[in-house]
Assembly symmetry: C2
Homo-oligomer: 333 residues x 2
DNA sequence: CTTTAAAATGTAAACGCTTAACTCTTAAAA
DNA sequence: TTTTAAGAGTTAAGCGTTTACATTTTAAAG
């Protein structure tokens, strides 16, 4: 382990003061071009890199954003992670990655983030207690929820309008002539699943459909598979299945196929997320596309505005998305 | 943004010196239980958390490990990320996540890691120039390559024995009566793909099979699809296809199915990675399982040993893995 | 009731940086 | 020429910790 080279070393080599070295590395400092060049050359020669830890300490700005993510194996989230990375990178932020092990982000995970003085935290598919929110707030850490919200909502959030998406999916299925609809939900403590189902049910009821068989598929492939099985065993006449996310839809489709149902001839399936695989030929899943790019754009904007104090009140932004039609839904008219 | 509460604040409230507060939070410090409790209570009341940035500065230990990952959308890697997170978390490390945008990890990505004084860097599916390795070395940063290695190899690495896996896959295909074999490779600058193909070819040649049609599928679904198409157009008699990773195998299978080939009756397909989806019914892919848990275990051990100076020479650990038989290969005997 | 060692606490010096305050040049304005 | 001001560079004060060292307290031993 070689000694770290510090600004002082560079200063000595270049024959200037250590503070000049600091200035040479600062965009907005007044320093002559000649001297800056000298210093930069010396730095180059020594392989000097400013120490972000020391800088963070004095400026009180770590330039680190925490990202909390739970179900990394759901292909929707790697995509989200990738895009957050790219946007935040552009803004000069680093990412501290937290893979939340529980539904609810744990006390110690919150503490870790705080200890490292992250400037902000993005929560994707995990739940945040209001205690946790307060803890972040007390420490001046901005929080933005991605596709989640919590009732007491003192936090920024950007959310796909799950309720209206649920409605429109219901409407679409009705319009294409389906009458026996089933729903495979995610965990009942996630606002995403809840809202999607509320919208869906809302529309169906308006059209006089009261009985809507449901099963919890826990947002996983296996869950979707099992839920479809239960559903079909008890309600053989179902002609369309709405799954609260794509992975569950894949599970459901695989169950249906192995059980001898033809998709979409016997039963239509519709998903949510428009994950890459939805386009793969064995599935060709009709699904709801969340405008991920836009959502991330907004989430980062919210985050930065909050960090830079250009924000008074927490904001909740809703975005819509649209239906992507593929081959898993049949027009029964 | 509330003022951060510091050890000094706690010290004042508890009526002790600031250094005692520090000691109260250190496992191995000599401090009376009574006083420790007092301090911890005061800290609790104020919501104090030690500042890891300041600690890092003085101890010269950030307790951050960088993870560099490129193709996050290949389901193999989220799994890897999750497991690394969990292991490193146990050891009290945080993760700084870098989503490398290019095949080769870029100069500025290296710099970022160095600026934040990460103690070590784990490189998964990205390439590291020896210049980059040197830069890390000069800064006393441990590097371990996960499933990659580079020729000048001054770095630790843990690697699935891709060569022998390739051999055994070749043997398996031969044993099951295949004679016309094709290969879909990953990018030609990845040691993983290269070794797998070398082993595969090696075995086939030993059995007198000289002509082995190949296409580069770039380790992606689309690439696998296109590669299979090209391969079949020019070599209609192929009866088995070895794909250097699972996602390409999925692409290839989807092409084959849409083109009217039956798997495995007309053509067998074999993958590599044993990603979750390989078990899904539309694919039921026979594939090579890398012992991911073991590999990560070893990688982390290498990392920690290196960080703690308990290591003289860089080590390269090879692990084997095993074939997982599903339904995509037919015994033609 | 000393004496002595050990344990607990306090004091103060770093760690590597940024930045306010100050000094010294240099050149333009008077 | 003198005055003034802007520009360039330096000095030094932190940021919130850990930790070596000094000092005080406590407990054990004589």
């Amino acid at each position: 382990m070689n000694k770290k080279v510090t600004a002082m070393d560079v200063a000595r080599l270049a024959g200037v003061s250590q503070s000049s070295v600091s200035r040479a590395f600062s965009k907005s400092a007044s320093i002559s071009n000649k001297k800056r060049k000298m210093i930069l050359d010396a730095a180059e020669k020594l392989g000097y890199q400013p120490n972000a830890i020391a800088r963070g300490l004095i400026t009180n700005q770590s330039r680190i954003i925490g990202i909390v993510m739970r179900d990394v194996q759901n292909p929707f989230y790697p995509e989200v992670l990738e895009k957050f990375y790219s946007r935040l990178s552009e803004e000069g932020y680093q990412i501290m990655f937290i893979n939340s092990q529980n539904d609810e982000v744990q006390e110690y995970e919150v503490s870790q983030l705080i200890e490292y003085s992250v400037e902000g935290v993005i929560i994707t598919d995990a739940l945040l207690t209001s205690a946790a929110v307060q803890k972040f707030n007390r420490n001046g850490i901005s929080v933005v929820l991605f596709n989640r919200y919590i009732s007491d909502s003192m936090s920024n959030a950007v959310i796909c309008n799950n309720f209206s998406a649920g409605q429109r999916i219901g409407q679409y299925l009705l319009d294409t002539g389906h009458r026996q609809l089933g729903f495979i939900s995610g965990p009942s403590n996630t606002s995403t699943s809840l809202e999607r189902s509320r919208g869906f049910i809302d529309t169906l009821q308006k059209h006089g459909i009261e009985s809507i068989p449901m099963e919890d598929g826990g947002f996983t492939y296996e869950g979707g598979f099992a839920a479809a099985e239960k559903l079909m065993k008890h309600h053989a006449k179902i002609d369309a299945l709405f799954c609260a996310n794509d992975v569950m839809a894949f599970g459901a489709m695989d169950y249906l196929n192995t059980a001898g149902y033809r998709i979409p001839e016997d039963i239509s399936v519709i998903g949510f997320d428009n994950v890459k695989m939805a386009d793969w030929s064995p599935y060709a899943l009709t699904t709801w596309q969340q405008p991920v790019d836009e959502m991330i754009q907004q989430a980062v904007k919210l985050m930065l505005d909050d960090i830079n104090g250009q924000q008074e009140e927490p904001e909740m932004n809703f975005v819509d998305g649209c239906l992507i039609e593929r081959a898993s839904v049949k027009n029964r008219r």
